[in-house]
Homo-oligomer: 362 residues x 2
Amino acid sequence: MPKEIIISLDAMGGDHGPSVVAGGVESYLENNPDADVRFVLHGDEAALREELKRLARARRICQIVHTERVVAMDEKPAQAVRRGKGTSLWSAIEMVRDGKADAVVSAGNTGALMAMSKLILRMSAPGLERPAIVASWPTLRGITAVLDVGANVSSDAEQLVEFAIMGEAFHRAVHGVERPSIGLLNIGSEDIKGNEAVREAASLLRTGGFDLDYQGFVEGDDIAKGTVDVIVTDGFTGNIALKTAEGTARFISSLMKEALTSGVRSRVGAAIAMPALRQIRARIDPNAINGGPLLGLNGVVVKSHGGASAYGFGNAIRVAVDLARSDYTRKVTANLERLGRVMDGASAAAQAHTQHAEESRV
Amino acid sequence: MPKEIIISLDAMGGDHGPSVVAGGVESYLENNPDADVRFVLHGDEAALREELKRLARARRICQIVHTERVVAMDEKPAQAVRRGKGTSLWSAIEMVRDGKADAVVSAGNTGALMAMSKLILRMSAPGLERPAIVASWPTLRGITAVLDVGANVSSDAEQLVEFAIMGEAFHRAVHGVERPSIGLLNIGSEDIKGNEAVREAASLLRTGGFDLDYQGFVEGDDIAKGTVDVIVTDGFTGNIALKTAEGTARFISSLMKEALTSGVRSRVGAAIAMPALRQIRARIDPNAINGGPLLGLNGVVVKSHGGASAYGFGNAIRVAVDLARSDYTRKVTANLERLGRVMDGASAAAQAHTQHAEESRV
């Protein structure tokens, strides 16, 4: 029997607050009727009681911790942290630190979630300045985990290797792939391409003796192809790649909508093909792949899109449950310790390798 | 009357060689019957004579310079440069250096084109290590020019400003926008976001007194929205953004194809809506937006996709003609000189600004 999991929820975060959070619990329970999970909702008790009234499953299984205050969606992280105590977000994270919950989920202010999590839980990966955010990216072959997509503005080789270690363990825990393959995002597949950080990270991953299936460099178009299960990049590039892909998908959707409503003939064809067109939408629906963990903390923290539906929030809960129930921590800890041991020797080797590559460049 | 333009063509480059190059001239002349342009084709004289026989317009207007050798598509740039003399590519570029042609177009090996152009023509922008490649990106509002998409692996603030200066002049020359707006690609729109290079470049663009319409930071999803006319980024991020977008577009096309051929009903709907669906394809057809200039050289150099059709190659020719005929050089020279003058004073101001921003960060 798997152990009972307790999930702590920031019930006031996101664009829709309590209705989507409580509704998300209901949606999760509908889709995972056998899950041995309890929930603690942090937020306005009266509002939450009201929401739970109409939710048959969630009502029986949710505990409420009343909090008076809320972090605004547009509040600056520094300010949110200063006046954080007593907010639903702070209270929800604290429960994980105190060992009273196995994971926390919030649809609230990303910067505040990141800053508070870092302060309350502390980083577990020594090289990381901030937690890494993972995007679960729909591809031709399923889901690829891409990280970091926005937390760390620049990343050296050691941090990139930490992303690889954490992303691999995440992918196994949440997407059920036994031995996820890993690629480093670069602008060419040859060893001599790219900036120094990716070339050194590649050398570390090849020679460091990690228990990882590292496949080499991949390029931007490999993300949607699903060439590998986990793609590692710095937070600047990862964030821009993610938003560029979202923008491209919206652009093509707009063109399709325009084209398929541009005349009687198009409208008739579109109406007939509608069930098929809906399938596409389902495949790239952000709610279906909602739930981006913040990795590198002492504890499981999952970010839901602020605008997610109850179904979407339920999927973020599923990510938190799967991570909390998995061997994520054990696997990550072993590989991070290995990274610590090999950094001295391996970085010398990597420097030699980099220098050699530099000399053979044009 | 605009002056006569002479375009030098590497007639052996690309996946299809002479047939697409000669066919590209014919296509250009069909679509621009009044253009006062002559062409010099560098390559195998016999093969080119044979191609020109069946091309009524191109035959009358093309001169041939016979060359014996060809740069292979997979040849390493360093090797291509060493044995470059006597190749069609070298000969085509040399004509621009010698003032006998106004621009050169090649569908050949990108690395070789870049290395040879740099060697033969030399860089005109002092901060640039290599030429910057521009992508003409289809957006909801038209075309946005994105640069650099792959030549310079890392870029400091001065280089980013050079990209802004060159990209703006390119956009006006080729896409006919009187005063193109400019954005810097970043991971957030606030001044304090991003890495040091983009923050310093932003400060330079705001305070440097350039004759440019700088609008501030933009994010990845602003590219396809067409928020600004020119988007500036380093070659690493730009290349990954471009390939990520291409991968996303192909992914959605695959989903559509799969969905619309998945059953009788879908196939009927798709057949009826086909003319509308073709419109979408035309809007994002790489051949329609073919022709990426290499900016920062003493001379106009345009790269065509290696797999472009004759129609696509004709569009790359159009880019070269428009650039050669425009006031691109004059505008760029004035702003680059301004950049040189303000670097000392402005960089001190930018440092103060950056420091202030750093202090106000979390």
